[in-house]
């Protein structure tokens, strides 16, 4: 549950970012539109303001400062607008204005869905990136689901990346679909918020099946896939982890090592010890999943020959 003041706080956050970056005329335009939208949340004024926003505020990256990012996380834990642009902030601000009254908040999910379905691609991106900020989070699940089903990678990533929304709202089935699709479309798991917390046995099984399918077709498997497998591997998937660990590819080798360390059965740990320096680096917290591709962990880049 949340109340109107929460929406006002979030609007204030976005407005603050814009105020520091756009002209006073553009800011005035935003304020005028927000006032009109608040009074008539389901009228054309909202749709048109969202359409016109980039012409008024531009499309430059926000490039938020460290303080601004911290303030955002304080207002909305897990929210990360690192990659946002001015038009996206403005569009989400305008949409939030439609939830100012309780009647406006009531119809929010239906409005979001309608806007998303009629949106051009830039609008759709902005609308989905705003998901963590909208009232009645659970009611917006259908629109989030549409985003996840999209064949347009940036639309998919607008939901899946840098957003606490999926981890907070998605059922296990939806979550698993999202994670598998992230790999399927060659996107990356690193920006998926709370990925580790929501790993589960069924997801691990789906991913291992997927890896086998890829291997059978002679194709590579993203090293990141094993991140969701390790804790559920037991002895069942140990051979798969061993295969990845023995790979000549640096990233696969590292991923296999990380997965073995999380599998943590005696057999897995024994395998991991074949690369002592790497095992030590993992224990020291130097090599982590988020730093999988980090070339800076230099001494590990050439691993010794393995059993």
């Amino acid at each position: 549950m949340q109340d109107g003041s929460e929406t006002a706080t979030r609007m204030g956050l976005l407005r603050g970012w814009l105020a520091a970056r756009v002209s006073s005329e553009a800011l005035q335009w935003l304020d005028d539109q927000a006032e009109k939208i608040a009074a008539a949340p389901d009228q054309r004024v909202l749709t048109m303001a969202i359409g016109l926003a980039p012409r008024k505020v531009g499309k430059a990256p926000l490039d938020l400062t460290a303080q601004e990012l911290a303030a955002a996380a304080a207002v909305r834990p897990g929210f990360n607008a690192r990659d946002w642009s001015t038009d996206q902030a403005a569009r989400v601000f305008l949409l939030l204005a439609s939830a100012a009254s309780s009647a406006g908040e009531e119809g929010f999910a239906a409005r979001l869905d309608r806007l998303f379905r009629s949106g051009e691609i830039g609008e759709q991106l902005a609308l989905l990136r705003g998901l963590p900020l909208y009232p009645r989070a659970e009611a917006n699940l259908a629109t989030a689901g549409e985003g996840i089903r999209s064949a347009v990678q940036p639309i998919f990533e607008a939901v899946a990346h840098n957003s606490p929304y999926p981890a907070e709202q998605f059922s296990e089935a939806m979550w698993n679909q999202m994670v598998v699709k992230t790999l399927f479309i060659n996107s990356t798991l690193v920006p998926v918020v709370k990925l580790d917390e929501r790993r589960n046995a069924d997801l691990a099984r789906m991913l291992v099946d997927y890896a086998h399918e890829r291997w059978a077709a002679g194709r590579v498997v993203s090293p990141e896939l094993w991140r969701c497998v390790g804790p559920f591997a037991g002895n069942r998937y140990l051979d798969d982890l061993a295969r990845v660990f023995r790979s000549a590819d640096r990233d696969e080798h590292r991923a296999g090592a990380l997965a073995l360390s999380e599998c943590a059965t005696p057999e897995a740990l024994a395998l991991l010890d074949a690369d002592g320096p790497l095992a030590a680096s993992i224990r020291a917290g130097e090599l982590t999943w988020d730093r999988l591709y980090d070339a800076g962990i230099a001494k590990l880049s050439d691993h010794p020959s393995l059993p």
């Binding site: 009629s118 691609i121 347009v152 940036p154």
Partner: protein
């Protein structure tokens, strides 16, 4: 040499077409809203169509490094379904103000009925209100009269001719269109309408300043490479490089750029990267590698 195809219904085309167009030097396309080959029965399918050309189709184009713009409008055939037309007119303003919309279009006459005229006029008013250029479809039957009447109505509605492209022009209509100060669009088809050799004669006779070549490629037999092919033919026949550039690039940019939604920088800075922003590899299937090119 870069080309613009300012009339292309890419929603009906394949990825092979996109690849060939990009390889031939087409940097931007304009996709006018049109009749999809069969009648839509309700505003919902019209809405979905408009958001499709503004959304997924734009994304597809971006995967091949082609900038994609749209014209938004109610086409003349469907203007004859009054119930549908009324509903579509309701939603047009919100679509016409979306990013990358460079004109109201393609609008105009088909059978030249009273209903077609009514919605043509209403959309001209909308273009004036939103300060957008207009793309006018001229009818295939009774073309000369239809074109003439379209221009009369446009002038009556106080639109500046240099903000209006009269499209599907031919030898019969080019004189009046150019003399009255409009842009003249020529849809170059493999078999019917205009062909490249006829286009050459028109460029020789009328000069390049107001002429625009397009493919009008759609779900019928048509050629998405009409613009570069015509350019080649014109150049081989001795038309100056400047003039070739005008009719296959510069004039379209000048006409539709008046919307403020289409700028040379849009394609100057983009590289083809099927992995990032608008260009996920989701059109790639079965292990194709994403294509990444650097533009210098």
């Amino acid at each position: 040499m870069p080309f613009i195809d300012p009339h292309a219904h890419m929603i009906s085309r394949t990825t092979d077409d996109y690849e060939a167009m990009a390889a031939a030097g087409i940097v931007a396309v304009i996709e006018p809203a049109f009749w999809i080959g069969q009648a839509r029965t309700n505003v919902g399918s019209y809405r979905d169509y408009l958001s499709h050309i503004l959304g997924f189709e734009r994304f597809r184009a971006s995967q091949f490094g082609i900038q994609h713009y749209c014209c938004i409008g109610l086409n003349s055939k469907e203007a004859n379904n009054e119930a549908l037309a009324e509903d579509v007119m309701e939603i047009l303003p919100e679509f016409a103000t979306k990013e990358g919309v460079v004109a109201i279009g393609e609008i105009g006459f088909d059978e030249q009925t009273a209903l077609e005229e009514k919605y043509f006029r209403l959309q001209l008013d909308l273009a004036r209100e939103l300060d957008l250029p207009v793309m006018v479809h001229t009818p295939h039957r009774d073309k000369k009269k239809g074109a003439s009447r379209s221009m009369d109505i446009i002038i009556e509605h106080n639109l500046a001719p240099n903000r209006v492209v009269i499209d599907h022009v031919n030898e019969e209509t080019v004189r009046e269109v150019t003399e009255r100060g409009f842009w003249a669009g020529f849809s170059i088809y493999p078999h019917s309408k205009m062909t490249a050799p006829r286009m050459l004669e028109i460029v020789r006779q009328y000069g390049a300043d107001q002429l625009i070549v397009d493919s009008a490629c759609d779900w019928g037999i048509s050629d998405p490479l009409s613009v570069p092919k015509t350019a080649e033919l014109l150049a081989a026949a001795g038309v100056s490089a400047d003039d070739v550039r005008k009719v296959t690039y510069g004039n379209a940019l000048a006409a539709y750029g008046q919307s403020g939604q289409m700028n040379e920088q849009d394609w100057a800075s983009t590289a083809v990267d099927q992995r990032s922003r608008y260009d996920g590899n989701t059109i790639l299937r079965g292990g194709q590698d994403p294509r990444v090119e650097e533009k210098s």
